[in-house]
């Protein structure tokens, strides 16, 4: 009798304990969720504040150097123009750095927002190539766009899609000393594949994994002779992933590289959203 009572008591307390731990678990989970949400809010607020604090003084630097260069307050001599242009170039470089760092932080904090819209990717590719052509020409490199004017419209974030293409085409031109850069497109298995092929310095097989890491530039032996921060591909590959796309690379060291962006014809949840957070 006593034994069964004790056994019963033990069993009961065991069940109570189980119940309590289940309740505790639920509470802990609730708490963790609230904490995570608060952390998210803090991250958003931090990014917004940083963006604002950095852009406000830049607005003055870019604005006033532009005003002076337009000679609105008065004529400039050549030396003044040259030095003001240096301020302007430096400020624009700083701006693109700030944008890149904010992008990386937003992606890593899960705060990147996308506006999905029907996008004329052919038009985007044409526009981008027109912008980069003069840079290629000034280096004596030809930039060809082949077979890119017939692509179907795709639901994606136009600005971010263009950011990816600009990064990759810019790289191709930057890391090519002679020869050409060729942009082409095709459709394969429900994907649009845009390929950017160059005859540049190429990438060693062992280095290919590194190029998508933030702040990584491949040491080319000589002192750093290529401008940049090493953020372009890190951002591009993360953006691509969040847009449901993929970037792949084939390269032969000293011969050239091919970067391919593969984008699904049907965007993420096509019907249901115009904007989402990745």
């Amino acid at each position: 009798m006593l034994v069964t009572t004790i056994l019963l008591a033990l069993k009961l307390s065991g069940e109570l304990r189980k119940k309590r731990t289940a309740e505790e678990k639920a509470m802990e989970m609730e708490l963790a969720k609230a904490k995570a949400e608060q952390a998210d809010r803090l991250k958003s607020a931090f990014l917004a504040t940083m963006s604002h604090e950095l852009r406000t003084p830049l607005n003055s630097i870019i604005g006033f150097s532009g005003i002076l260069l337009k000679e609105l307050p008065g004529k400039l001599n050549d030396e003044q123009k040259k030095q003001l242009n240096m301020i302007k170039t430096g400020a624009n470089h700083l701006l693109s750095l700030i944008n890149d760092i904010l992008d990386i932080s937003r992606i890593e904090a899960g705060q990147m927002e996308f506006s999905m819209e029907e996008t004329d990717i052919s038009g985007s590719i044409m526009r981008i190539s027109e912008i980069i052509k003069p840079i290629a020409q000034s280096k004596g490199i030809a930039l060809y766009v082949e077979n890119c004017d017939w692509l179907p419209k795709i639901i994606t974030d136009r600005r971010r899609f263009e950011q990816i293409i600009i990064n990759i085409v810019n790289n191709a031109v930057k890391f090519t000393q002679k020869g050409e850069v060729r942009i082409s497109a095709k459709i394969e298995q429900e994907n649009v594949k845009i390929s950017v092929k160059d005859t540049g310095i190429g990438i060693r097989e062992g280095d290919i994994g590194k190029i998508f890491q933030p702040f990584t530039q491949i040491d080319t032996g000589t002192a750093r002779n290529h401008e940049g921060t090493g953020l372009g591909l890190a951002i591009s590959s993360k953006l691509a992933k969040l847009l449901g796309a993929e970037i792949s690379v084939k390269s032969e060291y000293t011969k050239g590289s091919v970067f391919e962006i593969s984008l699904p014809l049907k965007g993420k949840d096509e019907k249901t959203y115009t904007s989402y957070r990745g």
Binding site: S51, H52, T56, N59, I62, G63, G66, I67, S115, S275
Partner: protein, 122 residues
Amino acid sequence: MKKLILLIEDNEQNRYMETYLLEKEGYEVISAGDGHAGIQKAKERIPELILLDIQLPGMDGYEVARYIKNSPAMSKTPIVAITSYAMAGDRERALSSGCDGYMEKPINPDTFVQEIRKFIGN
């Protein structure tokens, strides 16, 4: 008659710069450093365009836009938002608060006035 633009922007240098660019192009500019002062000035003399910074101390630009668009005397005055968050949702938020246009900082002095003209004419 010069067209009147009201500029609501809390940073003094930015205010000076935007005013300078607009005055050079022949607009008359009045300005305010926060939302309340901005609304006050708009009531005194209704401008033909309001340029509105979004990050303002106290009342933010979204609230200012909503207030203006809800007041019968000013509801037709076009508002162009200028923001330095430059996040994807900002544009939608500005437009849904009643802004008619949207511009990102840093502004480009080569195209700034051109953009403004789309909303106000010469």
